[in-house]
């Protein structure tokens, strides 16, 4: 018998179970249990993927069902990969990903390190810090939009307090230079607690006896930090980076609420651009090709990353 998941499931089924259901082999029973899941997986994940790949070679438009669909070969792919505007969207996405992950990891780890110290009210602080990630991104977007308002927004007044600038002399959301950072700030505010929680779990999983042994060996606190804490928490940090990376690559609602992709196209991330192509311009074939390119990019990067993560875990 071959060593497939179905065979393993069949072998794992106790013999008397099969005997109780007349006429059914163990293999058939295994299929009855596993079949619906496989069917759903095919219907919900695999079929749409194959269909999207098929559409990506056509000029199909979902709003023009009575129009003849033509196969256009790789034209959609060629257009996307040679479109300078799409590369600018990619750059905006990369900028957003890099800086949000950087700040979230640095601040999240620092907060986790501090919270991990035993002090009075540590649970209360954890709860307060975690609150932003429990809010809806749409609400957070609107909330920060008001904070960034140049005439009445609290954010501008705080900056004014430190710099002496007029509150209305700069626009966080309206300036080409500041708008990307305004989104990075909000995303960092909202999702740093998530990274903090993962880091906290990592820190609390390090057994005390390792530090006690290090103390016996007279290792300094700095040495302990770099030779015990960092290596042992690295897999957790990498996992947090993976989660945030995948989430932020798909970032949509927060940015739409804050800037709508503007000013101009400065903060138009690939997810927003893809939505415009697919469901506003209704270039379904083109958008399918775009989605496939993004899928391959994320899948490729994530696969490489997961391999690296596994190597770190094995150490």
């Amino acid at each position: 018998m071959s060593d497939t998941p179905i065979s393993r499931a069949a072998n794992a089924t106790p013999a008397n179970v099969a005997r109780k259901i007349k006429g059914l082999s163990d293999r058939a029973i295994a299929w009855i249990f596993v079949g619906p899941t496989i069917f759903l997986l095919l219907a919900v994940n695999i079929f749409p993927l194959i269909w999207t790949i098929n559409l990506s070679f056509t000029n199909f438009r979902a709003n023009r069902l009575n129009r003849e669909v033509e196969y256009v070969g790789f034209r959609n792919y060629e257009r996307i990969l040679t479109d300078s505007d799409i590369w600018l969207n990619m750059q905006a996405t990369a900028h957003f990903l890099f800086w949000t992950i950087f700040f979230q990891v640095v601040i999240g780890f620092t907060l986790a390190y501090l919270i991990n110290k035993k002090f009075k009210g540590n649970d209360l602080w954890t709860t307060i810090i975690v609150l932003p990630m429990m809010l809806s991104p749409a609400v957070v977007g609107n909330f920060w939009k008001f904070l960034y308002q140049p005439q009445i927004g609290l954010f501008n007044y705080i900056i004014t307090f430190f710099t002496g600038k007029e509150p209305s002399s700069f626009e966080m959301l309206g300036s080409v230079d500041l708008a990307p950072w305004s989104i990075v700030i909000v995303d960092t505010w909202m999702w740093t607690p998530f990274v903090m929680l993962i880091c906290l779990a990592g820190l609390r999983s390090i057994p005390d006896y390792i530090y006690e042994a290090a103390e016996v060996d007279r290792a300094s606190k700095l040495r302990q930090f770099f030779t015990i804490t960092i290596p042992m928490i690295l897999p957790f940090l990498m996992l947090a980076i993976l989660f945030r990376g995948i989430e932020n690559f798909k970032m949509f609602d927060l940015v739409v609420q804050l800037t709508g992709g503007g000013p101009g196209s400065t903060t138009e991330l690939t997810s927003i651009n893809l939505k415009r192509e697919a469901f506003e311009k209704w270039r379904t074939g083109y958008a399918s090709a775009y989605a496939i390119i993004l899928f391959v990019t994320v899948f490729g990067l994530a696969s490489i990353y997961v391999k690296a993560l596994n190597k770190v875990k094995e150490r």
């Binding site: 709003n63 023009r64 005439q151 309206g174 000013p263 415009r276 270039r283």
Partner: protein, 439 residues
Amino acid sequence: MKHSQLASASALSLVVASLGASAQAEDLTLCWAAWDPANALVELSKEFEAQSGHSMSFEFIPWPNFADRMLNELNSGGKLCDLLIGDSQWIGGGAENGHYVKLNDFFDAENISMGDFADATVYAYSTWPKGSENYYALPAMGDANGWFYRKDWFERDDIKAAFQEATGRELAEPKTQKEMLEIAQFFQGREIDGQTVYGAAIFTERGSEGITMGVTSALYPWGFKYENTPGQYDMEGAVNSAEAVEALEFYKEFYKTATPPGYTNSYMGESLDAFKSGQVAMAMNWFAFFPGLYADPNTGGDKIDFFVNPPQNQAGSTLGGQGISVVAYSDKQAAALEYIKWFANPEVQQKWWDLGGYSAHKAVLENPDFVDSAPFAGDFLEAMGAVQDFWQEPAYAELLLAMQKRIHDYVVADQGTAQEALDKLIEDWTETFEDEGKL
């Protein structure tokens, strides 16, 4: 066009059937945007309910989501709406994709003449292909982009004197686009009654259609054309003409020097907010909002006045407004057609105007009392005499979003020049028309 033929044939049979169909009461759903005129229509429709025995339900969608929601509904063959007051740009797609019932046979059977409605509205809201006699909607809500201003500020002696000193001319309603900019710049950052005020609220919204509707209010008066020859899609030299470049540069200067801080993504709602909160001296918006603005207890009445979008090289206003169509997927087309028949009645049209809707019926518009019937009525008539609309092609959304991007990139995000923005716009539009098989 099989869908349209089928739809028109079924419409005719439904008309015949509807002659005796009143016996069966239906619950009709009318879909439109959620704004002031929609409330007026609810009030008006009570009369239809009483007369016909049908009941009316309404599905009003906020403007920012209106196109997305309704076009998704039509594209999926949804039965939510029996009647739809859809934007003028949708007429091409509505007709070619078989979403709207063709109304010619119905109009003929019921003696509804398109000649009874203002020509500009029939052309813009009802016909496809443009200028043909194929009707897919009845003009329902005439509208154009216009302006309103703080009359009480304009009449203050201290402000008038300051303006005279600053510009050498009298402060009054602007007669040209450049005069309007000069007035807006005069008010920009000025202190009035202890509050810092700004020049004007204009449209700069990026996501849907805002900045395009705003910038065309400058482009049309400068002489902007979409094509050199109508129907030929020859855009080079028209879309990026010297006049168009100048108009686009003008709009950018307006945005940079005469609007409140933070108005980088503003449309109808933001314009109304800016004016009602006393932030701006002038604001652009659709005539549809003018009755509500006039009735506002704080900034309406004697404090407000209205003017048509000023000319520059020529008169020109951006067209708004909508026609009412019967949705081809509706199971209640006979009752829906009854509603259209009732709505086309001149008496109903007069009530529509009285309640705050903008009738396009000549019996209303050509009434000698019309001009004095509201402070903005004369301006509305003048605006409708010189309106232009965006592409009404089936691919209008793609064309619109390209313009949104190119204009916002230039005006708000300071990227490139006006000439480059319009040149790129032609490239985008050319690609779309090539995909459509029209180039």
